[in-house]
Symmetry: C2
Subunit: 391 residues, 2 copies
């Protein structure tokens, strides 16, 4: 995955054991337009607190990220480690201080060994290459089962622009586990306001709609960098729309790769709530379903257990008229006007919900509010992975 | 467990398979003062909707409850079945219509066979006895591993009053699973306003503070009946306070029996949040911890994983200053002013959190808000129990 004007690299600097890749760098050869969104968790990791406080995010040229240590709950020392890492990396690249976003992911509460990162910087910078972005993608992984990356090419007036992205994790927060990180890069020429709007519009229906365990990370970060290396004039009108669409498609792919890799997950379900009194109520109801352990275990067990879905909606606090609810599993309506249709409908649904992905649709029949989310199931492997002692 | 003036019985009426007890009746020989609290789930089961609408709950003399069928999501037919059951039971007892609370627990969405209950009524009434309250307690169980009951005796001026209670379930909502039901009975003479206050004050720190899976039931019901059979004048002052205290102790015992029997649970943890900006924020933070799958699996794995606790508090939305947080596992402080103390503290905590019950204390260091909850862990058995097909 080569994005014109971007180079990347990844290496093992010794934060993880056994020489595993744990330090990633992606940088643009040209100035960028960029945007960053961070976790809303009020216990933000040091790199997140530092990134939010950056005086000029307009000057960002790329990102340096480590895995294996989240640099969270590390106090003033943690902030110093971020500043030290950033300054050293910018200096090694010959860039002004503050040109790089810094991210961390991994164990919470352990001091970040900035000296190991500093020692690895010369090699990391020396090995930067157009093809090295994929290696950077490997170096941000923790318990991920596979790397997450994607590319889109979009024809625009006068040429082609390329978008590429790397991501890791699945919304978890602690030792030996991932936290969500995602970086997208493009050679498209995009004005700052257009880039910001396109990025926010692409993050909302992708990273903001995936649920593994309902826990949000202290380190979640997503960023988009556009360097205009394609040499075309700023995208407008139909070209800008095509770019936005490709960005949405790319981020949704990355998001679905994350939820599919959710710890122990065997299935990804799209829960859509329609007919709610408002959009906010639809989202509240969808989140109650997507985080319910009883719904998630029923999905694992391939049980068309609509009673658990209805009960989760009912306890979510949104307005509900039980006599109007309609519900389907994988397109098979099993509940109409609040009443079970018959056993045959559930039997028809049964084989369809053994698939890896399917949809649960709930129509509350009250208004025009709607929302959807993608969520993973809750399996024996989730318990095995998360009950283990930290090592 | 005999409560003067109350008689109970339990039988198998054929709702459950294999002749298992599934119909319970407890009734007072004398008029009662009573109070009832119901689930706040907006998808309320038919008996809950009917009970909330009862014109005169002041006339209640007891309860008839079935297990094996929740009579939830059953529409108008479900409401008819409740009325039919209630009318038939009151007639069989020679009581005016509306003298009995009706409860159901079990599978959602299947019509309740009221005719089976009617057919069993003559036998159920004939076998009523003072000792039969325990049998009634057995007949409301579903997947419970053991029956839940308790008794308290309180010395008051002029004699002794007795309180007894039966309960079932653990906050779950669906097929082959329990829903929380609890009934307490006393021969104490208590004025209606005093009884209501004492009951609400006892429900709040007991049934309202237990978490298994965060899902609340369509059928949850708790009720207290006082028939004054002890023959003393209405309790006042110190006697009323002693009664209230005994009631709180009894309901807390029943609540802890429920959470300890939470599906697959191996441990019960008391999470206390202090130093929050308000009591409501402390409760929000405590609920985020108690329902976090990452915290619950760490409890199962006996891992003093304070990072997961802090991250759950951080995402709950309450005000937090990461540099002020103090946290202990089983009395061992592992985090002070937002920083990990050392590995030794976690090693000291390790053996203490292998016990069946212990405390996690989080001090946010911001204000005077505090709250606590009891929650169970998330284990392999939870997945096994809840992923299974309905049978």
């Amino acid at each position: 995955m080569a994005i014109p004007g971007f180079r990347g690299s990844g290496t093992a600097c010794g934060i993880k054991k056994a020489g595993k890749a744990d330090l990633a760098l992606v940088v643009s050869d040209l100035p960028c337009v960029s945007d960053v969104v961070f976790t809303r968790n009020r216990v933000a990791a040091a790199p997140v607190a530092w990134g939010k406080g950056l005086r000029s995010r307009a000057a960002l040229r790329g990102v340096i990220a480590n895995s294996g240590n989240a640099n969270a709950c590390t106090g003033k020392e943690g902030l110093s480690a971020v500043r030290r890492t950033s300054d050293a990396a910018c200096a090694a690249l010959g860039l002004p201080a503050g040109s790089l976003l810094v991210s961390s992911t991994g164990v919470i509460g352990v001091p970040l060994p900035a000296e190991k990162i500093e020692a690895a910087l010369p090699g990391l910078v020396a090995s930067l290459s157009a093809r090295g972005i994929a290696r950077a993608g490997d170096a941000i992984l923790t318990t991920d089962a596979y790397p997450k990356r994607g590319v889109r090419r979009v024809g625009v007036r006068g040429g082609t622009v390329t978008l590429g992205g790397i991501a890791k994790g699945a919304g978890m927060i602690a030792p030996n586990m991932g936290t969500m990180l995602a970086y997208a890069f493009t050679d498209a020429p995009v004005r700052p306001a257009d880039l910001r709007r396109a990025f926010r519009e692409a993050v909302d229906p992708s990273f903001n709609r995936i649920v593994v365990d309902g826990d949000t990370s202290t380190n979640d970060t997503a960023a988009l960098f556009a360097n205009g290396a394609c040499g075309l004039p700023p995208l407008e009108g139909r070209d800008l729309a095509a770019f936005s669409e490709a960005l949405q498609s790319l981020l949704l792919d990355l998001a679905l790769l994350i939820v599919r890799d959710g710890e122990g997950a065997s299935r990804v379900v799209r829960i859509a709530v329609t007919g709610a009194a408002s959009g906010a109520e639809a989202e509240t109801a969808a989140r109650a379903v997507a985080t319910s352990p009883l719904v998630k275990t029923a999905v694992f067990g391939a049980d068309p257990n609509w009673g658990r879905v209805v009960a989760a909606v009912g306890r979510s606090g949104v307005r509900v008229d039980p006599d109007r609810i309609e519900l389907s599993f994988a397109g098979e309506t099993v509940l109409r006007r609040g009443l079970r249709i018959d056993r045959a409908a559930e039997r028809r649904a049964a084989p369809k919900i053994r698939k890896e992905t399917y949809a649960i649709d709930v129509d509350l029949g009250l208004g025009k509010g709607s929302h959807y989310l993608y969520f993973s199931d809750l399996t024996h492997d989730y318990i095995r992975i998360n009950a283990g002692y930290r090592t």
